[in-house]
């Protein structure tokens, strides 16, 4: 480090050494990412008015300021954390704000506020949680809190049903989707639980068709989680969260135990559960029929309208896209939340959509890298869990709107409109940053 610093000494020493300091790389990448939003602002204005409106620069400028502030916090108080997470998160936020600015200005304004709140929450978490390992100690408290959050929407008055799913807590003017926060709390609990109990879970079992199957009593946690997912599905009609919770749990269980049999049993259980709900619930059947044939002329104006319009949007975009504010994504209902990826596909084309997918892959890769560098099992498992949340959630919704998998309504992390989702995902990134500190110390 010293020799490189000396080689370009005129640039600066220590924290401002451009070539080697992780914080300088972070700043450079942040500025690079911010060009996304600035270019987005210019091209939306040009497409709409034929000239650039200086006032609209508030979106990219304020958002860049948020991230620069977060960067300065890290530079001076937590300089040993990972330097790629923040720029990758920022890139996704910049894409998100550009599309919201293009789709609905009111939502873009609210999203800006939420992004500020999210960045603030992330820094507060980093400031107070000096050592994430103490979370292990509060695992049961966190688990109970997570479950209560999930079940809170079942309460009268404050729990409300929106668009057919009971996912919302309403307190006066504020609406909050507790499952977004619950997924992080439960990931912390799984990580602590599995780090402690993994030896017990793999110690015994019977062999069958080349796979070692666990003893029935070791299946306890798996069955509990399965039951919880089904409960979510049945009582809250929340297909997306149910799939996500179970997926996170399976991924962490596999990493902890190395047992493919758990995954197999888990998948069989999930498919069984899904089939039962398919026959019992109309809305699940509807989702599946839409998935199988969204272009059926009989349903295309009714149930499968949204799905078909989403596919039309992607087709319209083609390879290079229509250009920002030059397509018709507003035809698709809920394009600002669940279907924002269709707007990206229409206006930025396959190139833009693929770049977006790659951003998530890079974020996931960085998360797993942090997991690999963690010295303790809890840190590794927690990083895996948190990374899986981002990876799986983005896959489920991007796969859903492109008809790769049946559609389930969840947000695209950092891009979709939604306060609770943004808030929770920033906390998630904050936790990953915490875990990454420990790795840096060792290195």
């Amino acid at each position: 480090m010293g020799s490189v610093g000396a080689a370009c000494g005129h640039v600066g020493e220590g924290a401002f050494n451009l070539r080697s300091s992780p914080r300088n790389k972070e700043l450079l990448l942040l500025l690079l990412a911010s060009t996304l939003a600035f270019v987005g602002w210019v091209s939306v204005d040009l497409a709409r008015e034929g000239r650039v409106q200086a006032g609209d620069a508030v979106y990219p400028a304020v958002l860049t300021a948020f991230f620069i502030a977060a960067h300065l916090f890290l530079r001076f108080l937590r300089s040993d954390v990972d330097y790629l997470l923040l720029p990758l998160t920022a890139a996704l936020c910049f894409v998100g704000i550009t599309f919201l600015f293009r789709l609905d200005r009111h939502m873009a304004n609210l999203q800006m506020i939420w992004m500020g709140v999210g960045v603030a929450a992330m820094t507060v978490l980093l400031a107070f949680l000096k050592d994430y390992k103490i979370l292990q100690r509060y695992r049961y408290t966190l688990a109970v809190a997570g479950l209560l959050l999930l079940l809170s929407t079942m309460l009268p008055v404050i729990g409300q049903e929106v668009n057919g799913s009971r996912l919302w807590l309403v307190l006066g003017p504020l609406r909050f989707q507790p499952s977004e926060l619950a997924k992080i709390l439960l990931a912390v609990f799984f990580a602590a639980y599995l780090a402690e109990k993994k030896e017990l879970l793999v110690s015994a079992g019977r062999s069958f068709v080349g796979l070692r199957f666990p003893r029935l009593k070791d299946l306890g946690p798996l069955l509990t989680m399965w039951a919880l997912s089904l409960l979510l599905l049945i009582f809250q009609k929340d297909l997306g969260s149910s799939l996500l919770f179970f997926g996170i749990f399976l991924a962490m269980l596999y990493v902890a135990t190395s047992r493919v049999s758990f995954v197999v049993v888990g998948l069989i259980l999930f498919i069984m559960g899904a089939m039962v709900t398919f026959f019992i619930f109309g809305h699940v059947q509807e989702r599946v029929t839409v998935w199988v044939d969204p272009l059926n002329p009989e349903t295309i104006d009714e149930e499968s309208y949204q799905m078909a319009q989403s596919l039309f949007a992607f087709a319209e975009g083609g390879l290079t896209g229509e250009g920002l504010a030059r397509g018709y994504p507003e035809i698709i209902p809920f394009v600002e939340t669940d279907f924002i990826f269709a707007a990206i596909g229409e206006e930025l084309g396959l190139f833009g959509a693929a770049a977006c997918i790659l951003l998530y892959l890079m974020l996931a890769a960085r998360g797993l890298y942090i997991a690999l560098r963690s010295r303790i099992g809890f840190g590794l498992l927690l990083a895996v869990g948190l990374t899986t949340i981002i990876a799986l959630q983005s896959f489920i919704i991007m796969g859903g709107v492109t008809r790769l998998v049946p559609l389930t309504g969840i947000t695209l992390p950092f891009v979709s409109y939604g306060g609770s989702s943004l808030f929770s995902n920033f906390l998630l990134i904050g936790l990953l940053l915490c875990i990454s500190r420990e790795g840096e110390e060792v290195a």
């Binding site: 091209s43 040009l46 497409a47 709409r48 008015e49 034929g50 000239r51 991924a251 596999y254 990493v255 902890a256 190395s258 272009l295 002329p297 295309i300 104006d301 078909a308 596919l311 039309f312 949007a313 992607f314 087709a315 319209e316 975009g317 083609g318 390879l319 030059r326 397509g327 018709y328 035809i331 596909g345 084309g349 396959l350 959509a353 693929a354 997918i357 790659l358 998530y360 892959l361 996931a364 890769a365 797993l368 997991a371 690999l372 099992g377 590794l380 498992l381 895996v384 899986t388 990876a391 896959f395 991007m398 796969g399 492109t402 008809r403 790769l404």
Partner: protein, 478 residues
């Protein structure tokens, strides 16, 4: 555990690839079928969200413009001249598609062409199209409409020096405003749907532009081609034949008009054309041979697709030289064989004769403008040169006599030398004849070529079609 993390990473990569391949399929390989899906309203929203350019006639009248729609889309078309220019301008309907100039210049009217630099494209607000200025003149078009009246037929007027189409009128016609209307009836059905059905089912085919799509036997008007082919292959105007009322050939016979068929004695080509003598042109055709006659006819555009900026043009036809026996060839020379011509084709022949043998490329577009700025201008060019200028001037001379003293005297205009040729095409047993007239004026310096057909008029070209041509020529020369 660390090994498992790597496996999880591979799993994430597989998920990414699955997303990517699926997306490539939708956005690239399956793109077209999704775009063409009936339920995909993007194309319509896009196209009818654009303030489509106007179509403006040569004399500055607005023939088509965009107005705010009464239906679900933003804009719809309005045609202030309605039926007068319906076939030329065509219609632009979200339900029935497009026709005429609306179809031909769609991309320009939508502002997508002429393609501009990327800076203009980036900064242009997309909702405006460009204006199309056409060569068609409402004065000439109105004269054609009034002269033809409510008789099935068609009138074309062309400037032979430039190939500019001055008038293209066909009757029966339709009301384009009724077709593009977005009005709905009490049950929510589109009123225009009923209108379209009645037009499509009508036996008089009002949607058909008879100028470019109507195929008729040309009758004696074809004799100008036989004359041209004859002169070209070494039979000068002075060539004389004995022309009895009935001329026996190949075991059959060619007859002149009149009852009994009229005997003209020994006459030259000028007299034969002036008086439209079948037996003269039958002998001329047989003597020059099928190759020469068909070759010259093809040269004028028959059996070829004709280059013109108009979407629906039928190909006129003459049988190949090998497909005709002597009788057939003889009758073809007189214009009564297996020939099928559009009025537009006859107009093209007139253009070649009027313009020293050079047929100019036909066009309806004068220029395309963005406000006052001219983006695209039509440049006249020679399309084909079937005959020499000497041949052309000799045929034109003979055609002057047709109007001065022959079958076409009703096309004469005081103070203007009109050249022309009549045609009376036999349609079949019991059916009234078609009346044709091909006119060129002024003969010294031709400014306009007019081709007229009146279907099943019963009268001859001289009495029915020539007066129509006269009115149109007068309007065009004003």
């Amino acid at each position: 555990m660390r090994k498992n993390v790597r496996k999880l990473g591979i799993f994430f990569i597989i998920l990414t690839l699955a997303l990517f391949f699926n997306l490539s399929y939708i956005q690239v390989f399956g793109q077209q079928s999704l775009r063409d899906n009936q339920a995909n309203t993007r194309r319509l929203r896009e196209e009818y969200g654009i303030d489509r350019g106007r179509i403006i006639t040569a004399d500055g009248e607005v023939a088509a413009e965009s107005v705010e729609s009464e239906g679900a889309l933003v804009y719809q078309r309005f045609y202030p001249l309605s039926w007068l220019l319906c076939h030329v301008v065509g219609y632009d309907s979200p339900q029935f598609g497009r026709s005429g100039l609306e179809q031909e210049y769609n991309e320009y009217l939508l502002g997508r062409l002429p393609s501009q630099g990327w800076v203009e494209q980036l900064t242009r607000i997309r909702e405006e199209g460009f204006d199309l200025y056409t060569t068609v003149d409402t004065g000439v078009q109105r004269a054609a409409a009034e002269a033809l009246g409510e008789r099935k037929g068609a009138v074309m007027a062309i400037n032979p020096k430039t190939g500019a189409v001055l008038a293209m009128y066909s009757w029966p016609n339709f009301d384009p405003n009724a077709l593009v209307s977005q009005e709905t009836d009490a049950e929510g059905g589109l009123v225009a749907e009923t209108v379209m059905q009645s037009y499509a089912r009508s036996s008089s085919s009002p949607l058909l532009n008879r100028c470019s799509m109507g195929l008729y036997p040309p009758g004696s008007s074809f004799k100008v081609v036989t004359s041209s082919a004859g002169i070209t292959s070494g039979f000068p105007v002075s060539t004389e034949y004995a022309c009895p009322g009935i001329w026996e050939v190949g075991g059959s016979r060619v007859v002149n008009y009149g009852s009994p068929p009229k005997d003209f004695g020994v006459i030259d080509m000028d007299t034969a054309l002036t008086l439209s003598v079948n037996t003269y042109f039958a002998q001329l055709a047989v003597d020059m041979g099928g190759e020469a006659l068909v070759g010259c006819t093809r040269g004028f555009g028959v059996n070829q697709s004709i280059p013109i900026d108009y979407p629906s043009v039928a190909v006129s036809s003459i049988p190949g030289p090998g497909e005709m026996d002597l009788v057939e060839l003889a009758w073809t020379g007189a214009g009564q064989g297996q020939l099928l011509f559009t009025p537009l084709q006859l107009g093209l022949i007139g253009c070649g004769i009027a313009n020293g043998g050079r047929v100019m490329r036909l066009h309806l577009m004068k220029d395309i403008r963005n406000g006052d700025e001219i983006l695209n201008r039509y440049e006249s060019e020679v399309w084909t040169e079937p005959i020499s200028s000497e041949t052309a001037s000799q045929v034109l001379e003979m055609m002057k006599d047709v109007v001065a003293s022959g079958t076409g005297t009703q096309a004469a205009i005081p103070g203007v030398t009109v050249a022309g040729k009549t045609g009376t095409a036999e349609v079949g047993e019991g059916m009234p004849n078609h009346a044709w007239f091909l006119g060129i004026a002024p003969a010294e310096n031709p400014q306009v070529v007019v081709a007229v057909i009146v279907e099943n008029s019963g009268g001859g070209g001289g009495s029915v079609a020539a007066p129509i041509a006269r009115e149109v020529i007068e309007a065009a020369l004003e």
